[in-house]
Symmetry: C2
C-alpha cells in the first residue's frame, strides 16, 4: 500500500533549518520560486525579525506557513526549570500566532538520569499548562516522538504509540502528534499507530528525510530521501490512508548539505521529493 508518486511540489514544505545557511527571506524567496507550497519556520530563523511582518512576507510569496519548530523540553529536575520551560513555550505560542503558524511541533524533552516515566509525567503537565494559551491563540500542538537514541536528553517520548497515548490522555482538539520518518521508520508498530492517530484525528504533521548507512553524527547527518534505508513512499502511503492530506515536510539536519551551495541542495531536495517520497 505504497503512495502514488508525487507529481508536483504543491504539497512540499521545507523547514528553514534544512537550508540553515539561508536567512529566512532568502529561503522563502527560493522556495517560492521553485514552486514549493509550504514552509516550516524554526524559531532561530526569526531572531531579530518582526514576526508578524515575516509571516506576511511568507504569505505574499504564496507560501503556506505549516508550523513553528519547536516547543517542548518540559522536563527538569527542579520546579523552577519546568516553569522556565512553560514560559518559553507560551512565548512560542505567541510567536506562532504572530507568524500565522497554525501548529507548534514539540520536542518534548528528557533529563539524563531522571526516569523516563517521570519525564513523561512532566511533559504531560507542561502541555496541560500551556494548553489554554494554545487554544486562545488558535495554535495546535504536535507531540513529536523522537528516535530512542535521543531518549537520554531530548525526548522521553520515543514511539508513536507513546505519543498517541499522551495525545489521547490529554484529549483536546488542540493536541495531536507529528510523524517523522527518521525517528519512527524502524518501529514494527508504525503502520498501526499511524492508523490509530489518523482515526482519532490526531495526525497533525508528517516529516520526511532518510537514514544513511553509515550515519556518522547523532544530530546532523540526516540523508535526503532516496539516500538511505527508509521507504518514505510506503510510510506516506500509511499516512495518507490514515486521512492525512497536509504537507510533506522536508526536515534535514546535515553538516554535509549545509556546507554545500544551498541552491544546488534545493534542487536535490526537489528531486528526492519527487522520486523517493
Amino acid at each position: 500500500m505504497s503512495a502514488k508518486p508525487l507529481s508536483d511540489l504543491s504539497q512540499l514544505c521545507v523547514h528553514t533549518i534544512t537550508t540553515k545557511p539561508w536567512p529566512i527571506e532568502v529561503a522563502a524567496k527560493n522556495f517560492s520560486e521553485a514552486g514549493i507550497g509550504g514552509i516550516t519556520v524554526w524559531r532561530n530563523a526569526l531572531t531579530g525579525l518582526d514576526i508578524k511582518q515575516t509571516g506576511q512576507l511568507l504569505r505574499d510569496l504564496n507560501l503556506t506557513v505549516v508550523s513553528l519548530c519547536r516547543g517542548g523540553f518540559f522536563p527538569h529536575t527542579e520546579a523552577i526549570g519546568r516553569q522556565v520551560a512553560i514560559d518559553d513555550n507560551k512565548r512560542a505560542i505567541e510567536e506562532a500566532y504572530a507568524l500565522g503558524a497554525p501548529l507548534i511541533v514539540l520536542v518534548c524533552g528528557a533529563v539524563p538520569g531522571q526516569s523516563l516515566t517521570e519525564s513523561r509525567k512532566q511533559i504531560q503537565d507542561g502541555i496541560m499548562a500551556i494548553l489554554p494559551d494554545a487554544e486562545a491563540a488558535g495554535v495546535k500542538l504536535a507531540i513529536e516522538p523522537l528516535h530512542p537514541m535521543y531518549a537520554d536528553n531530548r525526548s522521553a517520548i520515543n514511539t508513536l504509540s507513546q505519543a498517541n497515548d499522551m495525545a489521547e490522555a490529554i484529549n483536546s482538539p488542540w493536541v495531536g502528534v507529528a510523524v517523522d520518518v527518521y525517528h519512527l521508520w524502524w518501529d514494527p508498530m508504525l503502520e498501526s499507530e499511524i492508523a490509530r492517530c489518523g482515526k482519532n484525528e490526531n495526525l497533525y504533521a508528517f516529516h520526511i528525510c532518510d537514514w544513511k548507512t553509515p550515519t556518522t553524527d547523532f544530530l546532523n547527518d540526516r540523508g535526503l530521501m532516496g539516500e538511505g534505508c527508509i521507504n518514505v513512499r510506503q510510510i506516506r502511503g500509511w499516512v495518507e490512508a490514515a486521512g492525512f492530506n497536509g504537507f510533506n515536510e522536508v526536515e534535514i539536519f546535515s553538516n554535509r548539505y549545509w556546507s554545500e551551495d544551498q541552491s544546488v541542495f534545493l534542487d536535490k531536495i526537489k528531486q528526492g521529493y519527487l522520486h523517493h517520497s
Copy 2:
C-alpha cells in the same frame, strides 16, 4: 523493585572485547586475579589459537565461559549470501563447542533498503537452519535485540518484544534472548517483556554498560555503569525477578577506554559494577 547491591565479583563476567587491547590470555589472567567469575569470548580473540586449549586455559583460571560472541547477520539480498551466513554460524557453533561455551549471542543482521519484515523472516530461517547443529553441540542461541539506531545494517530485531516473539515462534529449548541494557533501556515495555521471557525460560544472558550524554560515536562510545542515564540496578532487579541468576556481563565498546591502561580500566569496571549495577 531495584536489585540489592552486589557485594562481590563472583557473578561478574567481562567480555574480551571490553578490554580489547589485551590478548585473551592476558585478559583471562587479569580477570581471574581480580576475582571475576566469568568471561565471554569474542570470536576475534580466538584468531590463531587452539580453541579447545584456550577453553581449558580459561577453566584452569577458574573462569566460567559464559558465551561466545557473536553469531548472526543472517539477512542478505541474495540466497548465496544467506548460505554463507549460515555456514559461518555453524562454524561459530563448532567454536563454541570447542571452547566449552554453552551459548552463542546472535546479532541478527539487517540489510539497508531491505524491509525489516523480510530481514526478520530471513533471520528466523537462518536460526532454524543452524538449530540442529546447535542442539547436537549442546550450544544455546540467544537472540539479542539491538537498539533501533542499528536497524539499518545490524539488526532488524530492535525490541525485546520482537526477540521474544521470535524465540516463542521457534519454540526450542535451545533458542532464547539476550537482554542488553544499552539497547533496551528506553523501551517502555522493558519490564513486562523481561518478565515474559523469564516466564518462558527464554532469558539467557544479561549485558550491562551505560549510555553517556553526549554519545559521540554510534558504535564505540559506550559508558561504564554509573557514567550515564541507565538505571542498571533497576533493570537487574527486573531480570532477577524474572528468575535469571546468571552472570552480569560487562560489554563496553569504547575508543576512550581502549586507549587507557587496561588495568586501570579493569579497576573502574569493578567499581562501576559494585556501585552502579
